[in-house]
């Protein structure tokens, strides 16, 4: 072994200085503390942000309903998203909304609430399905003015189901049908997909292993008219910027 290498191994190692303990900032220094928290919790530094006129909404994991889900679920909480959307409508600095979905569905009522809130905003909204937008994620994705899906993303379209006690009476079926109509009508009203096509996708057999319904791939979602265009982050942002410009110029939303 080279002598310099031996020297390297034989040298005495000075005891490491104890790492400085980060001071916990008092209440007034929230910003600094936020940065520290970011490094500790997420391993990321805070990137200086220029003033942004796009509000970003991410719909991830389960869309949580009126019951708090156990902690193994990643959830999107409607009680936080809905006031944010009201703020978006009111705040003159925000000119558009970009919504990114990677969701496995969840509560029908909460999902429809978010979808209706998005669709009733007067500012331009663009949604992008990355990964997946399943079940109740479908109406949420359709609710934006213009919608994108990535090539590899999927949407599972299948009949809704009841949880908990189900009473075996004909009324149960009527109720389920009514709930299904709420979702189907919303999707048909907010996308180019026809009622018949959507119901056909929903009740198709032989495609899902343990359910009836369809897994719709990105390009098929566009073909069926559920989503407007195949695209990724760049296309979605560009489209939103373009819609914001059109709106500023007095142009009409499509």
């Amino acid at each position: 072994m080279d002598s310099s290498v031996q020297d390297f191994y034989n040298q005495e190692i000075a005891p490491a200085e104890p790492a400085p303990v980060p001071e916990i900032a008092p209440m007034g220094k929230k910003r600094k503390q936020g940065k520290l928290e970011n490094i500790k919790e997420l391993g990321q530094i805070e990137i200086p942000s220029p003033p942004n006129h796009i509000h970003f909404v991410s719909i991830v994991g389960q869309i949580e309903g009126h019951l708090t889900l156990p902690p193994q679920n990643k959830t999107t909480k409607y009680e936080h998203i809905i006031p944010q959307l009201i703020a978006v409508e009111q705040n003159p600095q925000i000119e558009g909304v970009l919504m990114v979905l990677n969701t496995v569905g969840g509560d029908v009522e909460a999902g429809l609430a978010i979808a209706e809130a998005i669709s009733s905003i007067t500012k331009p909204t663009v949604s992008l399905v990355l990964g997946g937008g399943h079940s109740i994620g479908v109406p949420v994705a359709c609710s934006a003015n213009y919608t994108f899906i990535t090539e590899s993303a999927t949407m599972t379209i299948h009949p809704i189901r009841l949880t908990g006690l189900v009473i075996g009476v004909p009324q149960t079926l009527d109720y389920l049908d009514k709930m299904q109509d709420r979702v189907v009508n919303f999707i048909v009203a907010h996308s180019k997909c026809s009622q018949d096509t959507f119901r056909e996708l929903m009740f198709r057999t032989g495609e899902l292993a343990r359910d009836i319904g369809t897994v719709v791939l990105g390009s098929d979602a566009v073909k069926h008219g559920l989503i407007d265009e195949i695209g990724g982050v760049a296309q979605a942002v560009r489209k939103l910027e373009q819609m914001i410009e059109e709106r500023k110029g007095g142009g009409k939303l499509h």
């Binding site: 916990i24 919790e41 509000h55 109740i136 949880t163 979702v183």
Partner: protein, 69 residues
């Protein structure tokens, strides 16, 4: 309640019974928050209770963020 998801509902609702209910209401920066207390005077935000929609745009008050109180 209608849960509509391709996931197995057993997996979603697993541990339903032992969801902890140790939540506090605290005032932070003049706003009412429902929090889950952590160690050393810190708490994780569960819910913001405010009538001003602009408060919901603050990232430090989003559910899941940690505050000192």
């Amino acid at each position: 309640m209608i849960y509509w998801t391709p996931l197995d509902l057993d997996a979603v609702f697993e541990g339903w019974d032992d969801v902890q209910t140790n939540l506090l209401e605290t005032e932070y920066d003049g706003l009412l928050l429902q929090v889950e207390p952590l160690e050393q005077g810190k708490a994780r935000v569960v819910r913001l209770i405010s009538g001003n929609p602009m408060d919901y745009l603050r990232p430090d008050l989003a559910p899941g963020s940690v505050i000192s109180y």
